[in-house]
């Protein structure tokens, strides 16, 4: 009898979908819901060991009001704005050019521009550390600056130059991926739109502004959103340049601040409070994005 029930379950097409999605539900509860709840709880606690936990109310949040937290928030925000300025428009322009019928050897260029996306941030960062080194022996960027009559820059010692290094690294690694997104969207724009615009006498710039941009709007919004989230989650681009410590809070982003407080100073409560703030930032961005742009919605 039990054997027959067993067989019936396997044939039951009303039950089957629940079994198929079960791995997600289990993973969601254990590795998503539980950690989120646990972050909130820990953010109200002082944790000095696994069994030495005291409830301190908003204590950790009060300690957040300090210079380092605001530096981290500032760095993450400026970094996010900078990569929005590079990673949304540059790949768009390159993709439009790559899509142009006038360009020969498209596949070769497309593949070459994609290669940086294959590297890990650490390895790309090692190449960039070498290039941006202050010593002329290895630092090709400073060699160029000196050759042009400028003065060698201590790249990893200044806020602006440090930001330039991180943004360049991220832009270099991610441009290829965004080009792929733009290209797949460009190829789905109906050719007739351009043909009828041509009959109306539109030039290349007009076609770009009146047809290409509006048609690409969903993908632009997608890349915009993903770039903001990538900006606020950034850790490794800073870590690879300042791996041991952050002199003057250089490279100290929100996630680095969590890492520093929780794993380097063993202050899990404080780390959780920063995590909650970051969670609220990301959540707000997603809500705004959903409310005004409705990403993923139109395909339903």
């Amino acid at each position: 009898m039990s054997n027959r029930n067993h067989i019936n379950i396997l044939y039951n097409k009303n039950l089957a979908p629940y079994i198929f999605v079960l791995p997600f539900l289990i993973s969601f509860l254990i590795f998503f819901i539980y950690p989120i709840i646990s972050t909130f709880i820990m953010s109200f606690q002082k944790i000095e060991g696994f069994n030495d936990v005291t409830f301190i109310g908003l204590g950790n949040y009060e300690r957040l009001i300090n210079e380092h937290f605001f530096n981290a928030l500032k760095t993450s925000t400026i970094y996010t704005c900078c990569i929005l300025l590079t990673l949304v428009p540059i790949p768009l322009i390159l993709a439009v050019l790559l899509n142009s019928s006038a360009l020969k050897a498209k596949n070769f260029f497309r593949a070459s521009i994609f290669v940086p996306s294959l590297t890990s941030v650490i390895i790309a960062g090692i190449a960039f550390r070498l290039m941006f080194s202050e010593q002329l022996a290895t630092g090709v960027i400073n060699r160029i600056i000196v050759a042009l009559g400028g003065e060698a820059i201590k790249w990893n010692m200044g806020y602006v130059s440090g930001m330039v290094m991180m943004v360049t690294l991220a832009t270099w690694r991610t441009t290829g991926v965004n080009i792929v997104y733009y290209l797949s969207a460009l190829q789905s724009i109906p050719e007739e739109l351009y043909e009828s615009a041509e009959i109306d006498g539109a030039n290349a710039v007009q076609k770009f502004m009146k047809i290409t941009i509006p048609q690409l709007k969903p993908i632009i919004i997608y890349i915009f959103t993903v770039t903001i989230i990538d900006g606020y989650r950034m850790f490794t681009e800073g870590y690879v340049f300042w791996n041991e410590s952050n002199p003057g809070d250089l490279g100290l982003t929100m996630v680095r601040y969590i890492y520093q407080q929780a794993f380097q100073r063993n202050d899990l409560g404080m780390g959780s409070a920063i995590g909650v703030v970051l969670l609220i930032i990301i959540f707000t961005i997603n809500i705004i994005q959903l409310k005004y742009f409705g990403l993923f919605r139109e395909e339903e």
């Binding site: 791995p23 997600f24 950690p35 006038a102 050897a105 650490i122 070498l130 290895t138």
Partner: protein, 279 residues
């Protein structure tokens, strides 16, 4: 008209040659630096062009000898983790994506929304409670600790859902008439039909895992458990005295992904556009 087009073509090609040179330069720089001894490099400046008189593969020999070949242990860890992660992630994520793609059931939309929520919240925010959980589960500093939390990948679920919803329902009905169980239909009929999706996702998941850094940094505590990015980052020092090992180590670590890319470009592109947003 034809002449004008030709002129434009030449300008465009020249422009892209320049862009390609700039973009590939950092990788070239890494390779050319890895062929020079750091002592020589700091004494008389790094050479930018290949010169057989001062360049050789001596640094690469160091990968074998440096700290009794720890590099091979990192490489082995990376290969094992990427393989286990990719296989298990493909299996579970495809099941879920298929369930959401082909069946109609009560909580389908809610569950799919939850998948999107997980996709939009970065793991870095949860690394601290997840670390605590790994300690409680006693899988800190193990392969399982690196793999388990992210095994059911929302991106892969999304992709498999899109792909499987495009497969004709006739296959399902035919399977049912033949007396297959619902799971038999999946394994015998649908899985073979989804091979291109498996190809695209396996490459994307393997590459992401091969390059991942933040989570392994948290979970893996000892040098002999490190993956390549972790091990190589442990060689970084402000004074550059590890250059002789660090540079060839970096070059060799990129190779597997580049080789995979050269032979499977199509799959890479398909996997990357898995975000699946309608353009």
């Amino acid at each position: 008209m034809h002449k004008k087009l030709n002129f434009l073509s030449i300008i465009l090609v020249l422009l892209f040659i320049l862009i390609t040179i700039i973009i590939l330069f950092p990788i070239y720089y890494l390779i050319i630096a890895s062929l020079q001894s750091s002592e020589e490099m700091f004494r008389s400046g790094m050479k930018l062009f290949f010169d057989p008189k001062i360049m050789d593969f001596n640094n690469y020999r160091l990968l074998i000898t440096h700290r009794d070949g720890i590099y091979f242990i990192w490489f082995k860890n990376s290969v094992i983790i990427a393989t286990l992660f990719t296989i298990s992630s493909l299996f579970f994520s495809s099941l879920v994506g298929y369930g959401l793609g082909v069946y109609d059931f009560k909580f389908k939309n809610i569950i799919f929304t939850l998948v999107l929520v997980v996709m939009m919240i970065p793991l870095e925010i949860l690394m601290l409670p997840l670390y605590k959980l790994m300690v409680q589960l006693k899988i800190i500093n193990t392969y399982a600790g690196v793999i388990l939390p992210f095994m059911v990948s929302p991106l892969a679920i999304f992709f498999f859902r899109q792909y499987s919803s495009g497969i004709s329902k006739d296959f399902l009905d035919a399977g049912r008439i033949d007396g297959c169980t619902e799971f038999g239909i999946y394994f015998k009929i649908m899985m073979p039909l989804m091979i291109p999706a498996f190809g695209a996702m396996s490459i994307l998941l393997a590459m992401q895992n091969w390059n991942s850094f933040v989570w392994p940094l948290i979970v893996l505590r000892t040098n002999e458990m490190f993956t390549l990015p972790l091990g190589i980052s442990s060689l970084i020092s402000p004074y550059g005295h590890n250059f002789d090992v660090m540079l060839p180590a970096s070059v060799v670590a990129i190779l597997p992904v580049v080789i995979l890319f050269l032979f499977n470009q199509r799959f890479f592109i398909a996997g990357l556009t898995a975000g699946g947003v309608k353009g």
